[in-house]
Amino acid sequence: MARKLNLRIWRGNRESGSLQNISVDANEGEVVLDVIHRVQAEQINDLAVRWNCKAGKCGSCSMEINGKPRLACMTQVSSFPEDEEITITPLRAFPVIKDLVTDVSFNYKKAMEIPSFQPPEGMKPGEPRMQQVDVERSQEFRKCIECFLCQNTCHVIRDHEENKESFAGPRFFIRIAELDMHPLDMLRNRKKKAQEEHGLGMCNITKCCTEVCPEHIRITDNAIIPMKERVVDEKYDPLRWLGSKIRKREGIL
């Protein structure tokens, strides 16, 4: 059964913009992205929106719906009360390009700053063998679809543009954690780099990244806090520092 939806869609570019009121039909079972497509087809043909898979797996249709960072393709219209006006805006942590499309290249720049996996010297492709218990922790982080909702909601950069230079953001903390927890990764200075170059210490663990993750990755509990504890092991814990000097190795591997 169709229902009438009252939308407010932000339209504009970097110079100016405003919320535009639109009334549109929505059918049972539809998601917000369906409705945006109907608006695009029937009312505003040049409405800019980024999307791809419509299955919650490509991470393209990230936007803010009633102020909450969400995937438009995973937000059911029926989750809103009949009389509620739905406000749709672009992500507010990144520069806007047009309408609902933002420039997320900040994230690609940060991704390139993280050193890739470094296997043991002489190890050939196909040789590594790992047990499931050693892989499990990292597998959770591999579910990331790079929708950047966590980056968008993180107040460190959302509310402080100047921090973008020194802060990588939650998406990349799970990447660093994934590599630092990998039994075969030989790069030993990831903790130091996380703290000194990627701004791990700026995170005040308010868990918004975890709250918005559409893949339900426990970003704060399973990646950021463990990395903070690993940094403490290396940098702020004199007893562990002393132990590592005596034993001439980096912690207990």
Partner: protein, 267 residues
């Protein structure tokens, strides 16, 4: 110069947030409960009385280490003598409360709670914070949050002592064993909640196995890590239950010590 969501490159939206739900409710509840606890705990710490009614001792005053402690309340002796400041006897609670307070202040869950509720950094997700600058936990004093593990270790000692207090509560007021009262249940519950809070702590999880890279080489620690990880899911719940539990245990002992009501014995 405008920054954050009002930066020149971002979508021009004048509202700090467009959230339509009651996003302010959670920080308001957190703020209210923590403020009430702080007021009560401060009052009790300075009250310096009504904390011991054989065999019950308030968790705010245990271990009671000063010579000013009530007779029979000092499990570990009285190494501090009587300390006076400006002519006033220092409450024994003030000698020890820094440790449990430090444990909670640096706890990863409470950090989230008070950064949101008190410092509004941010007040809620996707709600712009009011501060113009932000450096997180990179500088003093917040860099001291990295000392959480030391408070955790000391907290374990406190848990052990409060467990002993709970065991000692299986006596009657004449110090005879084999009795149980409502006060016994209150102290046992308090100690249990505190152990659950400590066992579910992120530092505990890290120490017990989280720092390993190769779980398969440490099967016992891996098993322990999985148990602590399961508890860790509930850390927030344990944080609140143990906080309210410790306040209630203190309140109960206070009322018994002040003869407001008597401690009912089951046997």
């Amino acid at each position: 110069m405008a920054t954050g969501v009002f930066s020149s490159s971002r979508a021009k939206i004048s509202e700090r947030t467009l959230r339509t739900d009651k996003w302010w409710l959670q920080p308001l509840i957190t703020f209210s409960v923590l403020i009430l606890f702080i007021i009560y705990a401060t009052f009790r710490a300075f009250e310096n009385g009504n904390y011991f009614a054989e065999p019950l001792i308030s968790p705010f005053y245990s271990p009671c280490l000063s010579a000013a402690c009530a007779t029979g309340s000092s499990l570990l002796g009285q190494p501090f003598g009587i300390i006076k400041i400006l002519g006033m006897t220092l409450s024994p609670a003030l000698l020890i409360l820094i440790f449990p307070l430090g444990f909670r202040m640096t706890c990863y869950y409470y950090r989230k709670a008070y950064y949101r509720a008190f410092w509004m950094s941010p007040p809620a997700c996707a709600v712009a914070e009011p501060h113009s600058k932000y450096t997180g936990e990179t500088r003093a004093p917040l860099i001291l949050q990295n000392g959480h593990r030391y408070f955790f270790y000391i907290g374990l000692i406190f848990n052990a002592l409060l467990t002993v207090d709970a065991i000692l509560a299986f006596r009657n007021s004449d110090k005879q064993w084999g009795h149980m009262s409502v006060g016994t249940l209150v102290l046992v519950a308090n100690a249990t909640f505190l152990w659950l809070y400590s066992a579910s702590c992120h530092t505990c999880r890290h120490t017990i196995g989280g720092r390993l890279r190769n779980f398969s080489k440490h099967p016992v620690r891996y098993k322990a890590w999985t148990i602590v990880s399961a508890l860790n899911h509930k850390h927030q719940n344990f944080a609140w239950v143990s906080l309210l539990g410790v306040a209630f245990a203190d309140f109960y002992v206070r009322e018994v010590a002040a003869h407001v009501f008597t401690n009912f014995y089951f046997f």
